[in-house]
């Protein structure tokens, strides 16, 4: 492998990893802390992207589209959480299955509204060019995604270590009833977390629309990645999400290049292995479940 290729593959892996982190940080929050395997997270991503598309078609900039996509999905998340998930709160399987049902509906409605053509969103004009990095041509936008990933990681780190929220949510998973008997509005906290996760998914959808394009089926594909990230890293762990994202990004990038014929297994084989030898992922803690 040439040096140039190595640099390229690494950059690709890392920037793709950053995109995955943007998505899976919200996923890991919901999945890890609330124990909701939100299989509609991919739909949130795709719908966020489509909302961004509509905004951009209406002449708005990428940035407005990104914020709009995020907010729209936050609202959707609120409705889903309050209207549906709240009714089955605390029952793991109904929660998972409900989100499966929702993902079917969302996918079909998105198809009805936005059609099936794959659509690549325009890059923000400020980051439309390419840069030369040690002899390699590289798109600026990917570096932007990397930056956003780092920013979000820092933000979440502060959020997690400076507030009681994390502990409250984990306590809520252990024994929701008891949390409320301590005077904490556990439903509000859960809704907040869910909405925040949805917001991140919606935002990532718009970014992903530039990075990967939007099309029916993108929801499932990206969800697979998020699942693998969270499982590799360990549930509900921020470090896990960071390391998992990078790892998946790099495995994907180098794996496709080095062993293209195994690319179908690239994602799932390491995941199965990790689960067998470290059933709780790389950073998974011994939690009660």
């Amino acid at each position: 492998m040439s040096g140039r290729q190595f640099v390229l593959l690494s950059l690709n892996g890392i920037s793709f990893g950053a995109l995955l982190f943007l998505l899976s940080s919200g996923f890991t929050l919901i999945f890890g802390l609330m124990r909701i395997v939100n299989l509609a997270h991919g739909s949130f991503y795709l719908l966020g992207g489509y909302v961004g598309l509509t905004l951009m078609q209406g002449g708005q900039s990428f940035w407005v589209a990104m914020i709009g996509g995020a907010l729209a999905i936050a609202i959707l998340g609120f409705v889903v959480e309050r209207g549906l998930l709240l009714r089955v709160r605390g029952r793991t399987m109904p929660e998972v299955l409900l989100t499966v049902g929702l993902s079917l509906i969302f996918a079909d409605l998105a198809l009805a509204r936005w059609g099936g053509d794959p659509i690549l969103l325009d890059r923000p004009s400020q980051f439309a060019g390419t840069v030369e990095l040690s002899g390699v041509t590289y798109p600026e936008f990917r570096l932007l995604v990397l930056g956003l990933g780092i920013l979000l990681a820092a933000l979440m780190w502060i959020l997690q270590s400076r507030t009681r929220i994390g502990a409250i949510i984990r306590a809520g998973v252990d024994d929701r009833e008891m949390v409320s008997a301590l005077g904490i509005n556990v439903n509000a906290v859960f809704t907040g977390v869910f909405v925040f996760g949805a917001l991140l998914a919606g935002m990532t959808g718009v970014i992903g629309g530039v990075f990967l394009s939007l099309y029916p089926g993108a929801d499932g594909e990206i969800l697979n990645f998020a699942l693998v990230v969270v499982i590799l890293g360990g549930l509900g762990d921020l470090r896990g999400a960071i390391v998992g994202s990078l790892l998946v990004g790099l495995i994907d990038s180098f794996g496709r290049s080095l062993t293209p014929s195994l690319s179908y297994f690239l994602l799932f084989a390491p995941m199965a292995l990790i689960l067998i030898f470290r059933p709780r992922g790389l950073f998974g803690r011994a939690t009660v479940d």
Binding site: S2, R4, Q5, L8, L9, N12, F16, D108, L111, G115, G116, D117, P118, I119, L120, D122, T130, T137, Y138, P139, F211, L212, S213, Y215, P216, G217, A218, E221, I222, F225, D252, S253, F254, G255, R256, S257, P260, S261, S263, Y264
Partner: protein, 417 residues
């Protein structure tokens, strides 16, 4: 005695003819499926749905791009609705499933406008499943391989989608290109739904080859084309695209990164012939977008069927006879250009070298650079010898075949070397 309720007959001599159209309008390939449905409907809207005194009743069923659903829907159309004709489907695997279902039926006619699997007109012909407006995956790329050599390219990198359609496309290119003496210096395979092409692109060293042959489909195409430019390859390495990498339904979502790229296909919406342009204009009027080859294929299938029916005076009661007429029919003015079938049921049609351009309204379209009329599915090989080879797969791309000139029907390129 065999139990069962009655079918109501939808073919025969008189009364309405029921036609079942199976195309995906949900699922991952819904967009192209919708184009197909539009093309079909457009024909009847323009020409009226009465042919030789018989009304054509269309019943659409969605197969979501899934082979098993295709079977389910075919059963429903034939057994429940009494369809005498089945039109569809889009993806090769669904077309193969449909072929499997149609094979034992002797009173149902299948029209195959888009299922391009080579074997449907080569080693696995199903008599009553007729390519009408359809094509073979490897037909355009046979031309492409030959052309690439003509251009003076000697070393080519191929990057194709890793499934049957991709294998057949790549096989076509590889076979003819290597016959001429070209060399495939690198073969890359990307699975369907590759989110990020950068890994493959970083593998490509522009200095190591004269050109790259690329075949992608669906959403992968958009990502590929964008990244091709992003990683600085557009200006450094000539790209030879396959039909689906730069076809109209995908161009709708692409930008300047696609302009100027060349590809081979059996359809070009920019073809200046009136048959094509009339179709394009009508389609734009009706659906406010340029028609893709998917739209053209069902439009042509409708035309093909209608004209056959006309020729048979509206009589479908003798299915074998009807099939014979159908297969023998020659279209001189389809949106694809002239089109007919060979004795195996393979489409003989014009192939185009196309280049993406932008029209006054800012829409991207494929304009014709070069036409290759009457291209046979066997290229210029001897059909018998060709059929003795396996279908193109990842393992067999025809690189070392043929070995001698007796396996050519005409113009043996081996002699020159």
């Amino acid at each position: 005695s065999a139990p069962g309720g009655g079918d109501d007959e939808g073919g025969g001599e008189e009364g309405p003819i029921k036609v079942g159209v199976i195309v995906p309008t949900t699922g991952v390939v819904a967009a192209a499926g919708t184009d197909m449905l539009n093309g079909w409907n457009l024909y009847w809207e323009i020409n009226g749905n009465e042919v030789a005194g018989r009304t054509i009743e269309t019943i659409h069923e969605d197969n979501a791009g899934d082979p098993t659903t295709t079977l389910t829907k075919a059963r429903k159309l034939v057994e429940q609705d009494g369809a005498a004709v089945i039109v569809g489907t889009l993806l090769a695997n669904t077309a193969l499933a449909l072929a499997e279902y149609l094979d034992p039926l002797d009173d149902v006619i299948g029209l195959n406008p888009a299922g391009s699997a080579d074997d449907l007109s080569q080693r696995g012909v199903v008599d009553n499943y007729v390519r009408a407006g359809g094509w073979q995956s490897s037909s355009p790329t046979h031309v492409a391989g030959d052309w690439a050599y003509e251009q003076g390219y000697r070393k080519v990198i191929t990057l194709c989608q890793d499934y049957a359609f991709g294998h057949e496309n790549c096989g076509g290119f590889t076979n003819t290109f290597t016959d001429r003496g070209g060399e495939i210096v690198q073969q890359l395979w990307a699975p369907l739904g590759t989110p990020d092409y950068s890994s493959y692109l970083s593998d490509i060293d522009p200095a190591s080859a004269d050109a790259a042959f690329v075949l992608t489909v669906g959403a992968d195409s958009g990502r590929f084309v964008k990244q091709w430019e992003d990683f600085g390859l557009k200006d450094n390495l000539p790209l030879i695209g396959g039909e689906t990498t730069l076809e109209q339904s995908l161009l709708r979502a692409m930008g300047d990164e696609a302009v100027g790229l060349q590809s081979f296909g059996h359809y070009a919406e920019g073809r200046e012939d009136s048959a094509t342009q009339e179709f394009v204009d009508e389609y734009v009027d009706a659906y406010d977008q340029l028609p893709s080859y998917y739209s053209a294929s069902t439009y042509t299938a409708a035309q093909w069927f209608a004209e056959t029916l006309e020729a048979e005076d509206g009589d479908m009661s003798d299915v074998p006879a009807f099939l014979e007429t159908l297969k023998g029919y020659q279209l001189d003015n389809s949106p694809f250009g002239p089109m007919k079938l060979d004795e195996h049921g393979g489409t003989i049609a014009t192939m185009y070298l196309r280049e993406v351009a932008k029209d006054e309204e800012g829409r991207l379209y494929n304009q014709v650079v070069e036409e290759y009329p009457e291209v046979s599915q066997f290229w210029n090989y001897d059909p018998q010898a060709f059929l003795e080879q396996p279908v193109y797969t990842r393992e067999y791309l025809g690189e070392d075949w043929p070995e001698s000139c007796d396996q050519f029907a005409s113009d043996c390129p081996l002699e020159g070397e």
